[in-house]
Amino acid sequence: MSMNHVTQKNFFYRFSLVIFLVIFSMAILIFRLWTIQVRDAELYREKAENNRIWPQRMKADRGKILTKDGTILADNRPSADVIFVPGDCPSNRYKNVAETLEKLINVPSFWILEQVENFKAEPFTQITLKRDISRSDWIRIEENNFQLPGVYVTVQPQRRYPLGNTAGQIIGYINETNRDELVLYEGRYFPGDFIGRSGIERYYENILKGTDGYMTVTKYASGRPQLRTDRYGNLLLVRKDTRGHLLTEEAGLRQLPTPGKNLVLTLDIELQKLCENLLASQPGSIVVLDADTGAVLAMASSPNYDPNIFVTKGKDAERLELLLNKQPNRMTNRAISEQYPPGSVFKVFLAATALEKGVITPKTTFFCPGAFKIGGTGREWKCWKKYGHGSVTVREALAYSCDVFFYNVGLKLGVDAISEYCHKIGLGEKTGIDLPGEVPGLIPDRVWKAKINAHKPVWEQKWYPGDTVNLSIGQGSCATTPLQNAVLMATIINGGHRIYPHLNADFVPPQPEEQIFSKKTLETVIDGMRLCVESIGEARAGTGKLAKVDGITVIGKTGSAQIMSLEHHKKYKSEEEIPWEMRDHAWFVAGVTDKKPKIALCILVEHGHHGSSAAAPLAQKVIHFFYNREPKQDIQLIAQESIGRIQH
């Protein structure tokens, strides 16, 4: 106690250190505060915003697919999906919830727990447990919702194809995106999104999909967004903060989704149905084009499938069957994705080209003794009629499908001219129709032969007149699709213009190019094809006589594309004994010139044996129906109707 007051001065010296310590400490704190809060304030503000702001995605509705008269080919219906948000459920109850769900809606509980484990890092992801549940399932879930925390039923759009099989291959279907696509289209597609897989759905994916929107919401540190919205921006789950205030979205940071556009197709759905019914179960295809515009009025391919089985629940068995059963493939659109030798149909092209080139005139005749030899020697090419047609003009050759006439024409014309005109019309090339999976077909020429035989001796690469002879009747390596033949037919009856077939009604065809065939040429060809259908007399009936329609001038040309040599056919006593898969493909191309609109059609019946018997009658029915049906009542075009309104 002796130090009191005596060493007060000493204390000042000792205390000054402590005072300095206090002031120094506070100065450090204030300096540090200044660096964070003033100097680097912008940096930290940005970081805080990044923490907080979260763009909540709003999915766009997929566009509908319609026909011009308003028939809906594809639209969206509401479907109730069960979703699970792990973040809304206490983790110790996951197992309980999963087991309850297994009992209620029959989703394996181990799978649910697996999904929860997968999304551990993002506990506020909506995991879709079951799509499109039944009404009773929905009620059961709602009844038990007290023991199902984090389980919700949301209404999501579900694709629907109301017409089922009709035009199934054209419309195509949609399916969930897979992992590769998610990587490929990062930022555009997210898990659970649908993407067009085939047909129009795939080709016009960008138009139909629409643009996703977003709404900026704030989120908690745990990842829980402060508010949830449905896909249209309406609040699903209004959250209140602890003060009881309704939390609203951040002002001005909202981008509503743009729904996908409705797509109007040129299809005449009644005609399409008829064509599909005509083909019934036999594999084949019918293409009907508007000859002037190139609009596809019908494009039937048989057998076909119902795209609903890819988007609707409970169709797993059908889907599996469809995907595994390869022959005949129901998913192939035979009008564009399969190529066949055109056979005698090619004669139409050859006749027009020869007349146009001036190789023959309408009056030129060739004698058909039933067989043909180049230069009178060597290999013999037969005409389909054993004892020949005698002396025929081009009209008669088209009417009776005389092979020998066209062997001569082909040789006179030469392979280069044939190639040139094929290219002009679009034979052996993709027509550019707005569908995926089109094949180009093949019209052989010198370059192709040299290329395909490049590994073989030189003499194998050379083009021989015999190859031209084969090509003249559409045999050999020559192959076209039904659509290409329909395009050829359209070119014949529309005055010689190249057309571009299309399904989208908004398609604007390119400027009309040069006239490929002159009027004079076409008159002769059309006359010959008319004779093919109408016949000159009982004795000399045209091959397409079964396509005749009363009151309408139908022009046509049959075709029977061999897939086996005639020698092979000779092994069988009668035509009925030939096995189905070895029979000829039956072709029939037809057109109507004296009615509006002009239509061009091409019918293919796989292994139908004869174009005259298997394909021509179908053409008769199609044309008869098209021009003689009751005019349909005008249905208001509902294409402009806004999409995305789902009735709950």
Partner: protein, 406 residues
């Protein structure tokens, strides 16, 4: 009291001593309450309330209600302690000390622990944390000790005995483990030794040794990888729990643990920084409201204040704390006895340590240790400790009496 009888000294000091010397508890000692310190304390308390109101938004204001009520509960305690003769309290210090050591041993073996942090003894509904009041008891004990030995402090063995007195609770608290409180005792001991009048070179040598030790710890801890630390490895001389060692490691390597302690300071820095100069406004702190800021009502409450009120007011808060501490030191200088000076200084250092370390942690200049901020942070044990400390400061007689005496 021989010097007091000396004629050269004014009689007012005599009055001071006499006034407090007769009764153990005397209400007249209330006139020792320093109005400026009391006012500063009240300002800080009110800021604490306002801030707690904002901080407890997410918890239905339960913390706010408790925070306000603990002040009114502790205010009579403050007055009561002020009325007690502080020499009596100091005289009982060895008893408190022994009792606290006993408590620490008990809590070490029978205490309840949560999340690997400090332990407490459940007394009914209250969780009593003996380590909090221990800080005060250490100050009292050292005051008693320095009062007893007087000038002998200049002798080395008495000097070293000081470290034994404070070393035992340090180790016991350290083992709890409560790194922050254990660390708190070191500056208390050092500053009190300095004020008590130890030899300067003793003191400087101790600090030098401490700095070397710290450097050694840094080197040893830094030689480990985070994985090793998580697996339970530690330097032989440093028996720390993985999470404590990790905190030290994270301090030296802030990127190492972005999810744990690193995440906390990172978010705290964002919270403070995003407040900017003007702040986001009262109760508008997004970082807090959306729960990005961890421990926003305890260890990181300063971040919340800085986020909502901006640079000027936050700096003002720090200045207020500084003034508060300086006022305490002023009272210490004016205390009539060495014991009083030591007591006040010791308590001031407790405050300084908590204020500085806490705010430094929120701004990322020190590793996370979990120290509360006086008057602002939630925590009733600590609040009571602070109020008790202020009561003790008031109970010390000073050369001037400000209240009631003109």
């Amino acid at each position: 009291m021989s010097s007091i009888e000396n004629i050269t000294h004014p009689p007012k000091i005599q009055f001071e001593i006499e006034d407090s010397g007769i009764h153990i508890i005397n209400w007249r000692r209330l006139n020792r309450i320093d109005p400026i310190l009391f006012l500063l304390m009240l300002i800080l308390v009110v800021i604490g309330w306002v801030n707690m109101y904002s901080a407890s938004q997410n918890e239905d204001y339960s913390y706010f209600v408790k925070h306000v009520s603990i002040f009114f509960i502790s205010l009579p305690i403050l007055f009561f302690i002020t009325m007690i003769d502080y020499r009596i309290i100091i005289a009982f210090a060895p008893l408190f000390y022994s009792f606290s050591i006993l408590l620490l041993v008990v809590v070490l073996f029978f205490g309840v622990q949560a999340k690997g942090s400090e332990r407490w003894i459940p007394v009914g509904p209250i969780r009593f944390q003996p380590s909090e009041i221990n800080k005060i008891i250490i100050v009292l004990t050292l005051t008693w000790y320095f009062g007893k030995i007087g000038d002998n402090i200049k002798k080395l063995h008495w000097y070293i005995l000081t470290f034994i007195i404070s070393g035992v609770p340090i180790i016991l608290i350290f083992l709890q483990p409560n790194l922050g409180t254990a660390m708190c005792i070191i500056p208390i001991t050092m500053i009190m030794l300095w004020i008590a009048g130890c030899k300067v070179w003793h003191w400087l040598a101790t600090i030098l040794a401490g700095v070397i030790l710290m450097g050694f710890v840094f080197f040893e801890v830094n030689s480990l990888t985070p994985e090793q630390i998580q697996a339970g490895e530690h330097p032989d001389f440093l028996p720390l729990k993985p999470h404590q060692l990790m905190r030290i490691y994270t301090f030296f390597n802030p990127e190492a643990d972005i999810q744990g302690g690193g995440w906390q300071t990172y978010q705290s820095r964002i919270t403070i920084g995003s407040g900017g100069i003007n702040g986001k406004g009262f109760r508008q702190g997004t970082q807090t409201r959306l729960k990005y800021l961890p421990e926003h009502h305890t260890d990181f409450i300063f971040s919340l204040f800085a986020e909502e009120h901006g640079f000027y007011k936050s700096a003002l808060l720090i200045v207020l704390y500084g003034l508060f501490l300086l006022r305490c030191l002023h009272l210490a200088i004016n205390a009539t006895e060495l014991k009083g000076k030591l007591l006040i200084t010791g308590i001031t250092i407790i405050f300084l340590f908590h204020i500085f370390i806490n705010i430094a942690i929120t701004m990322g200049i020190l590793p996370v240790t979990g120290l509360p901020l006086p008057f602002l942070s939630w925590g009733r044990s600590f609040y009571l400790t602070c109020i008790t400390g202020i009561g003790l400061i008031y109970s010390v007689p000073r050369e001037k009496s400000y209240l009631f005496s003109g």
